[in-house]
């Protein structure tokens, strides 16, 4: 049975439908997440090769209604100016979807970068502050720690360079191998 509050919640939808028929465009913000987001701290990916000690994660997103395309970049600094060594600098999002305030996407693990069979990882982030921050788990499972990503760029500020991802290997780790922990390259099993 439809409650009063649900009808109130649906009212804007009806208004939107009517207005969209009469006026020229829809009401919903179908580009809410478009822009870039950077994690507020190092994100640690448990048992993920190359990311054992964590990395700052930058998401460059393009939202088109329920569809989301974009890239995920792995950095060693909060401004995401430097890449994490020993892995791919970025990966493309796979099957990004945005529904009911939740962004769900997949991506390939950044190691191995060229060839091989990288593991598929995923993220489930919830939109906060009217799309200015994202919060949720990212990694192998959805039941891990929740990370926070705050907006760095608005939709209009994205440049072609921001959206470029060559998935190139960032080079060998000087001392201890990829990432900050060479053991991770064996799969994180010690």
């Amino acid at each position: 049975m439809r409650t009063g509050s649900s009808m109130v919640r649906q009212a804007p939808g009806w208004i939107c439908l009517t207005a969209s028929l009469v006026l020229l465009a829809g009401c919903e913000n179908s580009h809410l997440l478009t822009g870039s987001f950077v994690s507020t701290e190092r994100v640690t990916f448990e048992n993920v090769p190359g990311l054992g000690t964590g990395a700052y994660v930058k998401l460059v997103l393009g939202q088109f209604g329920p569809d989301v395309a974009g890239i995920i970049r792995f950095c060693s600094d909060p401004d995401c100016a430097l890449s994490v060594k020993g892995i791919c600098d970025c990966r493309f999002l796979i099957d990004g979807r945005y529904e009911n305030g939740d962004l769900v996407f997949g991506f390939l693990a950044p190691y191995p970068c060229d060839g091989g069979d990288p593991e598929e990882l995923a993220g489930w982030l919830t939109s906060r502050n009217n799309g200015n921050s994202l919060e949720g788990p990212i990694g192998r499972t959805y039941d891990g720690r929740k990370w926070t990503f705050s907006r760095k760029q608005a939709a209009g500020d994205l440049t072609t360079e921001d959206k470029t991802c060559d998935q190139s290997f960032t080079g060998a780790v000087p001392d201890s191998g990829p990432g900050d922990d060479g053991a991770d390259l064996d799969g994180g099993n010690g």
């Binding site: 020229l24 088109f64 209604g65 569809d67 493309f92 209009g156 959206k163």
Partner: protein, 496 residues
Amino acid sequence: MTRLQGAAIEARTGLLIGLVVFLTCMTLSSDAAPVPTKPSEVVKRRVLVLPGHDYRLDPANLFMDGDPPTSGDEGGALSDVAAATLRKEVEISVALRDGLSERGDGGDRFDGPDLAVRGLLHLGQERYRDIRIPEAISALEQGIASARKAWLDILAPDVLSDLYLYQGLSYLELNQVALSHAAFKNMLTASPRRKFRKGWFPPATEAALKAAAEDFIRTSPWENLLGGVDRMESFLKYAKATAVVTAYLSGGPGEAGQVQVRIAEMSRQPGSHLVQVARADTSWVSPEAAVDVVSRTVSNWLSCTVLPSREAVDRPHARFFLDTAGAYSVYLKVPTRRIFSNAGFGIGLSWQIKDGLDVFGRVNLLNAFEDPYGDLFRQFWTVRTTAGVGYSVRGYWGRVFLHTGIVLDYLSGFESTTNPNCKFWPDDPARCPASNVRRPRYLFGATVALGVNVTIFGPIFFTFQIGMGAFFVSNESDTPVNFPLSLDLGLGYAFF
């Protein structure tokens, strides 16, 4: 979407609205042509006045000593009175016999037929005197037919009277008494006051003429103007008149006689026929009283009949409808996941060929707006051209129409995809294969629209129409964009 793109879209939208406002203002500020008005001169109704006759015959006085008088028909005074009464009304134009026989309006002149008939009369008389009676009858009958066809029974009754006289005399020579009798009666109908010199004809002929006169008084149908309604209607058309007035005197020997006035006019009903609308039958008292009867009857009719100034003027209907309108359209079938809007303006012209049928043409320029999911790469223009025939109901309030025809859409820069990678990296073939993008350019099909034009003032009208179409042909095989639904709302100008 960059800030620059957003600004460009806002600028295009502003331009679009500006154009619609400009066109609307141009329509409103254009010189309003005056609604057709009546010319300043007085429009007149033409009324025919037939020559009056005095049918009060006395067969005993048909033959007289000495030469018979050439005139003396008192009925002529009655028609003069009728004409004079009619002339007092400024919206009446009187048509008289003399005026008709001198027509200068390009119609048939009477010199030709009159001369031919006189020739046939002369020929008939010659054959009669040569005792070549059958040939005489043939010429005379031909002359009678020509005379009736040329309305000489009104315009030159003496000629017709002579034709009938010699026809009757010829039949009498052949001992065809009945035909002779009928011919003599027709002679008296044409010239009822005709007299003959006593002793001019043989006694048998005089007896036949006298018998015809006696029969004429008893049996002639006075109401039967010109031998029938159809012939009278034809003569009215010929005279370009819509009503006829006739006045005559009737009565037999020993009777005071009657003054009779008849007025008939063409009915205003569809398939108009001549109907009698006024009449007077008054006993003869004196010439003054007869004149008064005629004058009164005509005046009474004038007070009631439809004169041009009392006639409801049928305003002409508009023939051309030109409109400029704001236009809105959506395609009900699209390759995008959500319907997107198109808005712009249009200009349409409709020519009302005849009542209920028109041909039309319309051009709309529409700008597409971004769909909610961004499946459209960018905004684009649509040029929509429609043409066809329409069925309409018109009134002074405007018209309702149903237009059917063909539609051609040209889409300038339509590109759509549902692949988000193509939207985020539109120029990267590795991320966006070309096959993922639809690019229809030309669409051709049929359309139907229902609309209304409502007169606001003078020739300015409000227009609204809603239309639906279907495309059958496209530059892409499966017509990815189809079933356009469109609304047009604006102002127009009607040309009369």
